[in-house]
C-alpha cells in the first residue's frame, strides 16, 4: 500500500486529498474530499491526470491580434506542451465565434481546441 497527496483543483476550496493505493496501483480509498468531485479528481489524478488547456491563437483581420482558446474538455497532462505547440502554430481568420472548433482531436488526444470568445473582424 502507498499514499499520494494532492490539492484538489476542481473548485476554489482546494481540499487536501489523500489517496491510498493498493500495490497493484488500484485506488483503495480517497480521504480529505468534501464532495464527489474531489473523489473523481483524485482517481483521475492517479490514473490519467488531465487539465484544461487555455491559450490564444493568432488572428488575421480581427479586432484583436489574438483570440483566446481552450481545450473543450480536460487534456492529458503529459501532452500539454505538445498541445501548446500545436496551438502556437495556428493562425485563424476573423471573425471567430465562441465555441468554434479550431483544432479537431489535437495531438491525437480526442480533445478539441475551441475558441472561447467571439472576435469580430475589423
Amino acid at each position: 500500500m502507498s499514499e499520494r497527496k494532492f490539492i484538489c483543483v476542481s473548485c476554489p476550496l482546494g481540499c487536501g486529498l489523500t489517496v491510498t493505493l493498493e500495490d497493484s496501483g488500484e485506488v483503495l480509498k480517497v480521504d480529505g474530499n468534501t464532495c464527489p468531485r474531489g473523489e473523481s479528481y483524485a482517481r483521475s489524478e492517479v490514473k490519467d491526470p488531465r487539465r484544461v488547456f487555455a491559450s490564444t491563437v493568432r488572428v488575421k483581420g480581427g479586432k484583436l491580434p489574438v483570440c483566446p482558446v481552450r481545450s473543450r474538455t480536460p487534456a492529458p497532462k503529459g501532452k500539454l506542451f505538445g498541445i501548446a505547440e500545436a496551438v502556437a502554430e495556428l493562425e485563424v481568420n476573423a471573425p471567430v465565434k465562441i465555441g468554434q472548433v479550431l483544432i479537431h482531436n489535437v495531438c491525437g488526444t480526442d480533445v478539441d481546441i475551441v475558441a472561447s470568445r467571439d472576435l469580430a473582424a475589423v
Binding site: 483543483v9 473548485c11 490564444t56 506542451f81
Partner: protein, 415 residues
Amino acid sequence: MSRDIDVLIIGAGPAGVAAGIGARREGAERVVVLERDWDLGGILQQCIHPGFGLRTFKEELTGPEYMHRFIQQAHDEGVEFRTNTMVFQIDKGTNTVWTMNKERGIEHMTPGAIVLTMGCRERPLGAIRIPGTRPAGIYTAGTAQRFVNMEGHMPGKRAVILGSGDIGLIMARRMIWEGAEIEGVYEVMSWPGGLRRNIAQCLDDYGIPFHLKTTVTKIHGRDRLEGVTVAQVDDHMTPIKGTERFVECDTLLLAIGLIPENELSRMAGVEIHPVTGGPVVNDLLQTSDPKIFAAGNVVIVYDLVDNVSDEGLIAGANAAKYAAGKIPADIRRIPVKGGENVRLFSPQYVTGQADTTIYMRVTHPVEQACRVFAEPDLYSQRLRYARPGEMNEVRIKAGQITPDIKEITIDIQPV
C-alpha cells in the same frame, strides 16, 4: 417625472453587467451601462483560463465564456451599453454624471440611481518601494496578462514573480505554456495570497519554486532588467542579512494585491471605508449617498466572480427600486463590527430589508477547526480552517433582524 435614464451603471465588467440585468428584472425602464473599453466584459476578457462560474453555471468556464453568458442575458433583458465612454466626473449632491466619447463628445446625465461597478486595479511597483534601478521589464501581473492574452506579446523570457496573488500564479503557468521560464514566486508573508488550487495547478504542476517569507530587495539593470536580489525576511518583514541571493531574470511580475478603484466614488462624495478601500455600503449595497449603489471589486476585492455577479444583481435591483421610490429614506442601519480575527468585511450595515451575505477575510491563517459566526446568535458555521486568501461568508435572513438588535458582530474563532 421626465427622466432619461432610470439606472446608470459605471463599468461593464461582471458586476456592472449583472447590475444591468438586476435593474431590468426589477422593472427599471431604461438601464444604461457605461464602459470605457471598446468591448464589454472588463478584466475577464483577459482571464482566459478556466475556473469561473462553477457555482453559477455548474461548470468551469474561462473568463470570456463566463462574460459571454452574462452579456447575452443582459442583451435579452434590454440593458443598453455605451462603450468607448469614459466617465470623468460625478457631481457631488446632484449626482450628475459626465461622460466623454469620441463620437458623442462630452455629455451629462442625471439618472434615477447610479451603480458604481468600476472594479479594482493592481498595486503598482511604487507602492512597495524596492531599492535599485527602474529598467524595462517590470510589470504588474495583470498588465502582462493583457499583453499575452489580448495583445499577443510576451513580456520576457525568464521571469521572477513577486507576490502570490492569483493573477501572478495564473501568469506563471501561462508564461510557461508560452515557452518562458519562471525562476520562482516570492511571497513576503508566511502564507500564500492566492488560492491553494492555483499553487497546485500553476506552480506545483510545473515544478516552479514557491518561497514564503522571501521578497525582492533590489532591482538590477540599466535599460532592461538584468536580475533581482531576493532575501528572506524575519517576523517583522525585515530582510535577513546573509540570505540575499542574486537571481538573473529579464522580467519581474508583481502580484502584490488589488485596490478598489474609487476616484469617481470619492468625487461623488461617497464615504470610503479605510480598510476595504471601497464605499461603505449597507446590505442593499447602497452607499452613504442613498442614490448611489456599488457592487463587486469596487467595494471589496472578492475571490470569486460568482460573488461579484451576485452582488451586481442585488445592487442593480435595489438601484431600480430606489429609482422607483420604493426604498424608504428612514431604513434601519444596524452597524456590523468585525471581531479580533477579522481584517475586513462588507457590507458594513444591515437594514433587515432583505436576506444578506456578509463577506469577510481573516487577519491571519487559522489552521484548525473554527467557527464563523454573527452575534447576537444570527449565524454560526463550522470551518475546517480559515485563511486570508479565501473569503468567508456570514448569511443572515431578513426575518432574523428583530427590533432589539442594535449591533452585529462577526468573527472567526477556533473551536
